[in-house]
């Protein structure tokens, strides 16, 4: 009787112990799939990224890749961008997901490279498919650790028809930018839809600061203690943010507006400018097919002092996890994506420019920004900040100004955090 009772109990105990070790089980199965890959059987690789809006296009690309490589299966896993760092990076460390993964430039790239999670792609044949100047964000210590796939213009989007309706030309200096905003306001249009609660400060700061501090190394110098946020370049930028807010050129209560809310104001043509970036062109068009969109950057100085016309970022950096059990298969997937045909399908299907050479753009949104490839743009200044606490302090100083703090005080408060980070 006792034995009959103990047997199921022991079985239950065994099951619970096995359940506790579930993750190890998964690892083992993953190992066995690696072995099977070598013996000609199907290998599954995990492709992790944050762009939910690209899933359909990637599904199509995966189908083509799998047809060409019948022994490789690509499993696409998407995590929202705001959770991407937290959810994915921990998983990358044990190699359980993300044989191929995407990363952001700047602070995230630094953290992942410091942890040694990037496989060195230097010398791989597919690297030559990219425009060399556009993949520098994925380089460190002379090695190509990741390949920035997207070319994004982090510049405000404007409603072309509204500008035409009110006879507004693209402003060439700060005075004409203010005059443009005033004219729109007088006509009952919100000049700038600003998502101040989330992505707005981090996006709009780039164009606002680009001509106030023309040195591309300005934030690198900030992190080296060679310049301060209390210096003229940043206080002036904050003052101009304040001016736009005080004059009512942002929508009311901009600090309480999130990305979607600001996007809705623009898509409904209640606002003439959306202070985000080219990555939202396709979404805007989806929300309002009648929209005609262009990109413009606020020029915060006089026309003769303006050095830069806009901002670009090379992001969505493709990489192979150094802990991957299938590095060769992972490289094959990146090589496939690096081909002009696949990159073209991705670009035209998602409305994103890419860094791959010889890609034919067909979509209206991409044509709208194609002129920017020849203009003088600079790499997104925010992404040159490698310490994320400093990055937050910088963007929070913009929020503080919009919340009523004086530009001088907001700059001082943010510099105090920077100083603490630098150990001063």
């Amino acid at each position: 009787m006792k034995k009959a009772f103990l047997l199921p109990l022991l079985a239950a105990l065994l099951i619970s112990v096995l359940a506790a070790c579930g993750s190890n089980e998964n690892d083992n199965s993953s190992n066995s799939s690696s072995d099977s890959g070598k013996s000609g059987k199907k290998v599954t690789i995990s492709f992790v990224h944050w762009r939910g809006e690209d899933v359909k296009v990637f599904d199509s690309l995966i189908a083509k890749f799998e047809a060409e490589n019948p022994n490789i299966k690509v499993e696409q896993q998407v995590y929202p961008s705001d959770q991407y760092q937290t959810t994915v990076q921990a998983k990358l460390t044990d190699g359980s997901v993300g044989d191929v993964f995407a990363s952001f430039p700047g602070a995230q790239f630094e953290a992942i490279s410091k942890a040694g999670l990037f496989t060195d792609l230097t010398g791989e044949s597919f690297v030559a498919n990219y425009t060399p100047a556009l993949i520098e964000a994925g380089q460190k210590d002379g090695k190509q650790l990741a390949l920035p796939y997207q070319l994004v213009y982090n510049m405000p989007i404007y409603n072309v028809k509204l500008f035409e309706k009110y006879g507004i030309e693209i402003p060439k200096d700060w005075d004409s930018f203010l005059a443009m905003a005033e004219k729109l306001k007088q006509n009952g249009i919100i000049p700038i839809a600003f998502p101040g609660a989330d992505i707005g400060p981090g996006q709009f700061m780039n164009t606002m600061v680009m001509n106030n501090a023309t040195d591309p190394e300005i934030f690198t110098k900030l992190e080296a203690g060679e310049t301060k946020l209390t210096d003229e370049w940043w206080v002036k930028t904050l003052s101009q943010f304040k001016e736009l807010n005080d004059k009512g050129y942002f929508q009311q209560d901009a600090l309480g507006t999130k990305d979607q809310g600001a996007g809705a104001l623009f898509a409904q043509e209640k606002a003439a400018i959306l202070a985000t970036g080219s990555y939202q062109l396709a979404q805007n068009k989806k929300n309002n097919p009648n929209l005609e969109q262009g990109l413009l950057a606020p020029i915060t100085v006089s026309a003769d002092q303006a050095v830069y016309e806009g901002i670009h970022t090379t992001t969505f950096m493709l990489a192979v996890n150094s802990k991957s059990k299938h590095p060769e298969e992972a490289k094959k997937w990146i090589a496939f994506l690096s081909g002009a045909e696949a990159a073209g399908e991705y670009a035209n299907g998602t409305g994103q420019n890419v860094t791959v050479k010889d890609v034919q753009y067909t979509s209206e949104e991409l044509q709208a920004v194609s002129e920017w490839t020849t203009k003088k743009t600079r790499f997104q200044p925010r992404y040159t900040i490698t310490n994320s606490e400093i990055q937050t302090a910088v963007t929070n100083s913009i929020q503080a100004v919009l919340g009523g703090t004086s530009p001088e005080q907001a700059a001082k408060d943010a510099q105090a955090i920077v100083d603490q980070q630098l150990g001063k």
């Binding site: 990076q89 953290a111 503080a400 919340g403």
Partner: protein, 292 residues
């Protein structure tokens, strides 16, 4: 007898193993990492002694988050205790609606914090949200606010949602406390000529004090531990005005990759909660009234 011991041990084993693996081990490893400079990703790290605790004591954002957390906690405790007590007293009156209302108050408790966060972010939206829209419609436009965008009130807007989400549990605790008070005592007090207020202050409240202490204690701990709501609604913004201890620890570990510093923050957090709980249980013990 010996077999019986082994059987008992086998029964305890699964739970014990899970408890050790999922609670004791992470707590102890967190304690260990609080003395290191581990970034949470790299395979190597160094022992830094008490450096993390020193850094924490001087950290501007950590200090802000502690102050914000205290404001948040006080607002939640006052709001939640007072409103749930009033609701419980109303539910005590015999009415056909009592049971339905009790369920209604409990509904927010069963919603996930993340859903509550999304619902209220929409409600609070300054231009499209239901709250300002309703205030406008009923002629109270003067009370419309930038609920989550105003740095002075954002933390209290979050506290209101936290209180709303958990008020049902507190009502149930108070109702249970009220049902434990002998009816004869209340009737005797009324017969002696006591007004409603006098009966409440002299009879009901003293006997309800243990339930109130549990409510306050539970609410305090719950509001200190709040994370999901704040993370989904503001993630500490605007400009650190809603940064609380849990979001600071989370961001330090997973956004700033300072796992050692975040662990030190967690240890501080654990000690703070332990001290508050200990103090409150002492109060509960000394403040207990009896009708025996």
């Amino acid at each position: 007898m010996k077999n019986r011991k082994w059987t008992l041990l086998l029964f305890f084993a699964p739970g014990t193993i899970l408890y050790l693996a999922l609670f004791v081990y992470p707590t102890l490893s967190g304690f260990y990492y609080s003395f290191t400079d581990w970034d949470g990703l790299s395979p190597s790290y160094s022992y830094v002694g008490l450096d993390n605790f020193k850094t924490l004591s001087e950290h501007i954002v950590f200090r802000k988050s502690l102050v914000n957390n205290l404001k948040f906690m006080l607002a939640v405790v006052i709001c939640q205790t007072v409103i749930s007590l009033i609701l419980a007293l109303m539910l005590q009156r015999k009415s056909k609606l009592s049971a339905a209302l009790r369920s209604l108050y409990f509904v927010p408790t069963i919603l996930s914090s993340v859903s509550v966060g999304f619902i209220w972010t929409f409600m609070y939206d300054p231009s499209l949200g239901l709250l300002n829209g309703t205030l406008d419609k009923i002629g109270l436009s003067g009370f419309t606010q930038n609920w989550l965008g105003n740095m002075q009130i954002a933390i209290f807007s979050l506290a209101a949602v936290q209180a709303w989400a958990h008020i049902g549990q507190m009502v149930i605790l108070f109702v249970a406390g009220l049902q434990g008070i002998p009816r004869e005592l209340l009737e005797a007090a009324k017969l002696d000529g006591g007004t409603r207020l006098q009966v409440f202050l002299r009879v009901t409240w003293p006997l309800l004090a243990p339930a109130a202490a549990v409510v306050v204690s539970y609410t305090t701990i719950q509001s200190f531990k709040a994370f999901d709501l704040v993370f989904t609604m503001t993630n500490g913004g605007p400009a650190y005005s809603t940064e609380i201890l849990s979001t600071f620890i989370y961001n330090t570990a997973f956004t700033n990759f300072k796992f050692g510093l975040a662990s030190a923050g967690s240890i501080f957090f654990l000690m703070l909660i332990a001290i508050i709980t200990w103090l409150q249980f002492r109060v509960i013990r000394t403040d207990r009234a009896s009708y025996s």
